[in-house]
Amino acid sequence: MRLFHVIRKYLLLTLFSIMILGGVSIYFIFKIFIHQSTDQILNEYKDRIENYVALNDTMIEFSASVIQPQRVEQRIILPTDNYSLGFRDTLLYNENSGAFLPYRQLYFTVHYKNKQHLINVNQQTFEFDDLLYILIGSIIALFLLFFIFTYLVDYYLKRKVWSPFYRTLEKLDDYDLEIGHNLGLKDSGIKEFDKLNEVVNKMVGKINYDYENTKNFADDISHEMQTPLAIVKSKLDIIRQQDNLSNETISSVASISKAVSRLSNLNRSLLLLTKIRNDQFHEIKEIKLNEVITNLVENIEELIEARNITLENTIREVSLMMDSNLAEILISNLMINAIRHNIEGGSIRIDLNSAYLLIENSCTKQENENNLFDRLVSNKSKDSTGLGLSLVKSVCDKSGFKVDYHFIEHTRFQIHIQFTKK
């Protein structure tokens, strides 16, 4: 529900309650007020009649100079009669308008010549029913008007008030950590949004700064590690050139060399993983994945043949939008995986179409078949970094693909990449 709808709901509810209350109050206040003034007039008549009788000592029909005849009625009453005094509302037939109209009456008694006279004076009054209908009608009309008005206000607000908010949202949406621009949110004149912009600007500035530092840190670490490794490798190269090495030395040199290679490759893979996760490969182009695969397979044909692995494939022409480096990393890691964990005389199958990529290969038994994406896969023969599948997963995450794998009876490994749109 939009914020405005929430506000409007409460506004309308409040308005409705206020209007009902107001309406009811107006009705009664009106009534009381009108009664008061009518009653005042009636009291005045009463006084006049009493004075007239007292003054002129007569009960005969009052002359027109006193009050209009139709407004007065009188009769003689006996003490035993039932009657009531005071103000009363009634309907009387009015000849002028030809209809029954509401009248206010005042009953009082006058003592004259030892007889009680019950007199009532009448004054036309307000049609309170009409008032009621008018009030209800007004409330409804006002309410509807207000309702319509809120739409107008909503429209106006959308342009004047909410547009800075949506501008901020849009800029946040477009924000790309890799590009690292400052959002440059400007003041809108509305305090809450200005405060929001201020906080967001600061936050983005800090994120950019931290990211730069992290990137540089990762780069610097690699630099630092690679150089000592380069020194070791180069010295080993020199040692190898010597003629009279003892067998022990030769063996040690071989071990050192292997260890340094592992370290070097591990460092390189880690760096790659970090770079991928930090979106440092973000040049999206149209990549023909089938070509990437066929090129790579061509390059490693002999590796496959040398282990007597049969390769079958159903590769369709598939174009995807992704970074070309990521495509290379993805395919090479998948293929290395398929070869390395394969058995002598095994098989590899590649299925590529516009919906998915499937690679299936025979494999040696794995100690732990779970979580291959999340951890360094321990490998007894130490011929891999163990990060291959992590790299595959990272590339898929960044390119909007879904990836999962499973083992078939512990002897076949299947990995499936779905080219979903993010």
Binding site: D219, S222, H223, E224, Q226, T227, L229, A230, I231, V232, K233, S234, K235, L236, D237, I238, R240, Q241, N247, I250, S251, V253, A254, S257, V260, S261, S264, N265, R268, L271, N299, I300, E302, L303, A306, R307, N325, S332, N333, I336, I339, R340, S381, D383, S384, T385
Partner: protein, 226 residues
Amino acid sequence: MKLLLVEDEIDLQESIVTYLQSEGFAIETASTYPDGEEKVSLYNYDCLIIDITLPGGTGLDLIRLLKEKDTDAGVIIISAKNSLDDKLVGLDIGADDYLTKPFHLSELNARIKSIIRRRNFKGGNSLEYKEITIFFDGRKVTVLDKELILTKKEYDLLLYFITNQSKVMDKEAIAEHLWGDNMSLVADSYDFIYTHIKNLRKKLIDAGSKDYIHTVYGIGYQFGER
């Protein structure tokens, strides 16, 4: 052939100098940017090996400086950073190649010779070793003047061997050269190298050449006269 090496890590510098000198190159060194700047401005070289991160400046500026002179010299960048941006910039401003540390000295050697060949043909259009001749145009190989058909990998292997003749190379270096960083681990562990070398050896011997490829126990291979 005169080379200039600009590298601030002294230990690495020493190894490179030793290896390349044994390859017959005359090589000068600089360890800082100002030193490098001086040498580049004053002298001429056939090929320069430049490290990007130097005290006092960046190797990229040295390359720019070099390009201002009218020279045929080749440039190979060595860097610990496998940074795509650096690579692009480097190649953009005129470097011929980019090699990431750590690398094998035999690889560096092969690349330098390749650059010199490409740049000014001072290396000639062909390379001869005894009865074997490699023609770079068309990647042809002859033994005793008769053409020998080799696969792409076998050709690369033979060229690598002859370029680094008499040097002992370990299997990893060869694997990296043939398949690149990624695949080298796989290739190395399953002795694909052995298969390729065996095939190449057989083809050469069958064509009438002597057996120049020797296995050095526990270490690797060596190409040359024993």
